[in-house]
Amino acid sequence: MFSHLQIDRPRKLVGFFNEPVIFHCHHYNLFLQQTIEDPDWIDGVSILQISAQEIFYSLLKNAFVTLGIETAAERLATAARMFSFLGFGQLNFEVTEGGGEVELANSHYAMGWLGKYGEQVNRTKPIDHMAVGYVAATLDATFAELGTYVAEETRCVAVTRQGSCRIQVTRAPVRRQLTPSPQMGKLIEQPAPLPLPQTSVNYDAVNEALWSLPLEGDDKGQIRAFNVLLTRMPANYYNRIQYRFLDELQKLDPQLLGIGQDLIRESGHVCVFYTFGNIMESLEWETVVGPMLNTDTDWVHGAYAVASSLGWGRWQALEVISNTSCRVAIDGNYETSYFLASYPSADQPSCYFAQGAVPAIMNVVYNGHIQQKPVLDEALYHRLFQRNGLFRGAEVKAREKGDPWCEFYAQ
C-alpha cells in the first residue's frame, strides 16, 4: 500500500488513489466526532456515517480500478488491508452480495476512546461511525454503486470493553443518492512565492525526513509514532463532516453557526495540543527537528515544518515575534481545496480548523512551554486553553474568498 502514496512536493500534499490523505491523532478524531455526534437537534451520526461512505467509496473505487482488482474476494481483502494500512484497526468481512457481518478488531476510535475516557466514564452507544461508513462503502464499491448498502454497528468495544466490534451490512430498500468525494479538490496551480522565513529550520529538509518514514498500520492496524496514535485519514472525510455539520446548524438556526465554527476551531486547539505537543516531545522530533532549533521562534517554525509534512498543504510561518505574534501562510490548505470544489463562494474565511490550530501553536510554545516537556494531560489543556491571556487568531487572507493563499495572524 505504501508505494501507492504520491507525494506532491511543491504543494506538500499526499495523495492515495487520488484522495488527499493527512495525519491526525485519536484526540482530534474523537473530539471532532464528539462535536458532531453530541447535539440532539441534528443527526450527527448520519453525517459521520454517510460522509465516510461517500469519501471511502471514491477512494476504494479508484483503488480497485487502478490496481485492476475485479473479483469480490480480492476487493474485500484489499479494503481490509487498506483499512489497517490507514491506522483504523482490522476488518474481517464475512459478507456476500446480499450483505453480512464484519468484525472490527483494534478499532482506532474504540481503543482511542477507552484509552482517553475509559477510566472516567461508561459509554452506552457505539462509536465506530467512520468504520460503519467504510464497510458500506466497501460493499458499494465491490458489488454495486454508491449508496446501495447501509451498515450498523451492533457491538462496540467502547461499550462492551471486551472482544471485538461487529458491523451488520445490508442492501438498502432504496438506493440513496449520495455525493462522491471531490478527490484532490481545487488545487493551487503552483506554489505561491512566499518570502523565506527568518529561521534556522529547513522546512524542506524536515519534510523529506518525515516523508521518508513508512508510517503504516502495524499488525493490529495501528500507527504508533511520535508518541501518538495516528491515522492517515482522507482529508475530505474531515472536510465533509465539518462543513456538513455547519450546514446543518445553519439550516436549523443561523445563530448556531457561530457556535459550530467555534467548536471546529476548538478541534484545532485539541489537535495542536495533543498531536503537536506529543510530536514535539518525541525522539523523532529531537532527531529530525531538534538540531535546527536555536531560538524559541524556531520551535514555532519547526511545528509548521512538521505540519507541512502531514499532508496538510504548505504551512509556513512568515514572521514569528517571540512571545508576541506570528503570521502564517497556508498555500493550498486542505480545507480550502475541498471548500472551493464543493461550494460556490464563501461569505467569510472558512478554514476553521486552521483558525484554531495557528494560535494554538503559539500557546503550546509560549504558554505551555513545550520545550520543558510538560505532561500533556487534560489538566494542562484546560490551564492552557480555557483562561485569559492566550494567543488568539484570525484568518486575514482566504483563498476561498479570492486571495492567492490563506493567511493567519495570531497574537
Binding site: 491523532c25 518514514l213 513508512p214 501518538v228
Partner: protein, 85 residues
C-alpha cells in the same frame, strides 16, 4: 553499558519504554542488535527503526536514546539486558 530506563503511558493508552544510553549507537551496532533478535533494521535519515515481530524500537543516530514500543515483554527484557552488557 550503563543505561537508564523509564516507562511512560503513551497517548493512546499503551506503555512504552524510554532508554537513555551513555553514548551514541552506530547504525552498525543497531543493525547487529536487530539481527541478534530476529528483527529488521531500517534507516531514515538520522532515525532508525528496529522492527521485531512483537513491536518496534525507534532509535536516533543523533541522540543516545531509544524508545521501545513492544508487546513482547520477554523480548524487550532480553534487549535491555543486551544493551546493558
Amino acid at each position: 553499558m550503563p543505561i537508564q530506563i523509564s516507562r511512560r503511558r503513551e497517548c493512546g493508552g499503551s506503555w512504552v519504554t524510554d532508554v537513555s544510553l551513555n553514548r551514541l549507537l552506530t547504525y552498525g551496532e543497531l543493525a547487529a542488535l536487530a539481527e541478534r533478535y530476529g528483527g529488521r533494521c531500517r534507516q531514515f535519515y538520522q532515525l532508525v527503526w528496529l522492527d521485531f515481530p512483537g513491536g518496534r524500537i525507534t532509535a536516533s543516530l543523533r541522540l543516545p536514546r531509544l524508545t521501545i514500543r513492544m508487546e513482547n515483554k520477554d523480548l524487550e527484557a532480553a534487549i535491555l539486558a543486551d544493551l546493558q552488557q
